[in-house]
């Protein structure tokens, strides 16, 4: 045996059968393993191998790297539909080989167990449908629980966790004012700019104020506020409840017989349902201010004219439309955030996923709800 051969397990080919042996005399470090693996790959590509015999003579349980190499190379052969026999196995290796998926075919020989075929499409569809059914069941159960908790809270307002609700109002509401103001102000500016360019072509610049006023108040303010609140509050709710799942706090509450929805969901729903309409009104003002700034500077309409047109165009009913939408959005955001938190898997990744999916489902639900509400209001 040459010195060259000693650097890797002995790999030779005799009449379409590949023999791999001489494991014990070498140290299977990364370089040797790499070499051996490449050599096997080379043989597979260049020669027509029909079967492989791997000789494990002298291998003990301690040589874990050899066993790992065996596992990976056998997988490689199987991928190329080459039959593998593993021989000369020390009895102590029996259990580890079985656990790695090898099956004994005779006293001496192990072959790799052939994996099950991939699932039939019917099974996959069936399982997916069952999962969807389970998801819907848990979602409806959750909605029911929230409704019953809300009903209870209306009947027993003293039992509402007002301290918690105030805390969430402060965090989601007061802290959110600057960002809501900024976003809506810019939205107003953009709308006025786009409007003045297009409407100016027809000499309708005076109506920019109508466009900005109605769009902001009926639609965009509530929508922008809800986007900000999904990011700020919805994901935070999901992460908070998800973390409580991880630390078994929710289990603890349930085994105490406490209705967790009343403690964890209702304060959040109430806080958002109070705060989001207020934020929407802030957004209305900011948007109109932004629109006024650009409208007056860009179209040459005077401040007084712009103000008069806005008052004429926008009615109290429109303001209430936006506010009502924001209340519905608030309930959706809080509920979806909490639901995703409840559904979170009990590890760090699960909490992250819950936060993300609360945002995604929140955005989707709000857009759908907005569509429905717009049809209803018109």
């Amino acid at each position: 045996m040459s010195a060259q051969d000693l650097t890797i397990p002995e790999i030779k080919i005799i009449e379409k059968t590949l023999f791999i042996s001489a494991f014990p005399i070498i140290d299977m470090n990364a370089a040797v393993t790499n070499n051996a693996y490449n050599k096997i790959l080379h043989f597979i590509k260049t020669t027509q191998i029909q079967n492989v015999v791997i000789d494990l003579a002298g291998i003990t349980q301690q040589q874990q790297k050899v066993i790992a190499f065996l596992d990976s190379s056998v997988s490689l052969f199987m991928k190329h539909k080459i039959i593998v026999d593993v021989t000369n196995i020390a009895p102590e290796l029996n259990s580890i080989l079985t656990e790695l998926g090898f099956v004994r075919t005779s006293k001496e020989v192990f072959i790799r167990h052939i994996k099950l075929k991939s699932k039939s499409i019917f099974l996959t569809v069936g399982e997916a449908s069952l999962k969807f059914y389970e998801d819907m069941r848990s979602f409806l159960g959750f909605v029911g629980e929230i409704c019953s908790a809300l009903f209870y809270s209306v009947l027993h307002p003293r039992n509402i966790q007002w301290k918690e609700a105030l805390y969430y109002m402060d965090r989601t509401g007061a802290d959110g004012v600057p960002i809501v103001f900024l976003v809506c102000f810019l939205m107003g500016c953009i709308l006025a700019y786009q409007g003045s360019v297009q409407m100016g072509k027809f000499g309708l610049s005076i109506f920019v104020s109508d466009l900005v006023g109605l769009a902001i108040i009926k639609e965009l303010s509530a929508l922008m506020v809800s986007m900000v609140c999904i990011g700020r509050a919805g994901s935070a709710f999901a992460a908070e409840i998800g973390t409580m799942q991880v630390s078994e706090e929710i289990d603890a509450m349930e085994t105490m017989g406490l209705r967790t929805a009343r403690f964890l969901v209702i304060p959040k729903v109430i806080a958002l349902a109070i705060v989001m309409p207020l934020l929407t009104i802030v957004g209305d003002v900011a948007g109109i201010l932004g629109g006024t700034l650009v409208g007056v500077l860009k179209t040459g309409v005077t401040l007084q004219q712009y103000y008069d047109r806005t008052i004429l165009a926008v009615g109290f009913q429109n303001v209430m439309e936006g506010v009502t939408k924001s209340i519905v959005f608030a309930i959706l955001i809080a509920c979806v955030g909490c639901l995703r938190g409840y559904e979170a898997e009990r590890d760090a990744k699960g909490v992250g996923k819950a936060a993300t999916s609360s945002v995604v489902s929140g955005v989707f639900l709000i857009v759908v709800a907005d569509g429905i509400l717009t049809i209803i209001f018109n």
């Binding site: 409580m244 630390s247 078994e248 706090e249 603890a252 509450m253 085994t255 105490m256 017989g257 406490l258």
Partner: protein, 254 residues
């Protein structure tokens, strides 16, 4: 005393698991009133799963669980919520509510279920904290405490409503030997003073010998109960070799 009165928990032919994977099959055991009952077994043998099934957090695959004369598997949800007020549960992690102070943690179930005025509720919380040696920590948040203190505070919360049964899931997990022994003493003290039935899940042998009146040993491989009885008797005379070895900390090489 008739049979029903004597046994506060009766479990018959219980099969538990998650989804399709069965962890324990057809196990039956009972817990006597006011005893300290231990569920012992290796990691992953289904000890905590039994507690989850007993407390109604998980539904068993098959079998019946009768607690205080009521079949908890087939009971309606509202009734189960009511039943749970008779249980105290101490979780592995303590599971104190992280946004509340210690006294608020203990006061929460009291405010919810009792008619005591608020001041009295907070006094009860104070007494309960004193009972577990945490006087003066009423206004602390859970994250400000050490692991052992958190466990003791959680024990105080579990005892808030003076439950009939206290479930302890690995109470001494993650504690040093001294704190672990202190917790064992506390468990015995609670059992002695209040007569509460205690079901404790653990794999800490010292705890078992220190506190348990009776023990069952569950096994992952056979998915069954290997033996049951008084721990010190089982240590010498269990009919099952594995149990004897386990209790004597012997490991037999195959």
């Amino acid at each position: 005393m008739n049979h029903q009165e004597e046994h506060i928990i009766e479990v018959e032919n219980l099969t538990v698991g998650y989804g399709e994977s069965v962890i324990l099959e057809n196990i039956s055991f009972f817990v006597k009133k006011s005893e300290v009952f231990a569920i012992l077994g290796g990691s992953g043998s289904g000890k905590s799963t039994i507690i989850k099934n007993l407390t109604g957090l998980n539904e068993p695959i098959t079998g019946t669980i009768i607690i205080d004369g009521i079949d908890t598997v087939n009971v309606k949800d509202e009734k189960l919520v009511e039943l749970r007020r008779n249980y105290g549960v101490l979780y592995q992690s303590g599971a104190l509510f992280s946004s509340l102070t210690l006294e608020e943690n203990i006061a929460l179930p009291l405010l919810e279920y009792s008619d005591y005025p608020k001041d009295v509720v907070y006094s009860i919380a104070k007494v309960k904290l004193n009972m577990v040696g945490l006087s003066g920590y009423e206004k602390y948040m859970p994250y400000e405490l050490s692991g052992g203190m958190r466990k003791r505070a959680a024990l105080a919360r579990a005892m808030a409503l003076d439950p009939k049964i206290l479930f302890l899931d690995e109470p001494s997990a993650g504690l040093d030997p001294i704190n672990s022994a202190k917790l064992d003493d506390l468990i015995l003290k609670l059992n002695c003073i209040t007569g509460v039935t205690i079901v404790v899940v653990t794999h800490e042998l010292e705890s078992i010998f220190a506190v348990a009146d009776r023990v069952i040993i569950v096994d992952k491989k056979t998915k069954s109960i290997l033996d049951e009885g008084c721990p010190s008797r089982l240590k010498g005379n269990s009919k099952n070799e594995w149990v004897r070895n386990f209790l004597n900390r012997k490991y037999l090489r195959s």
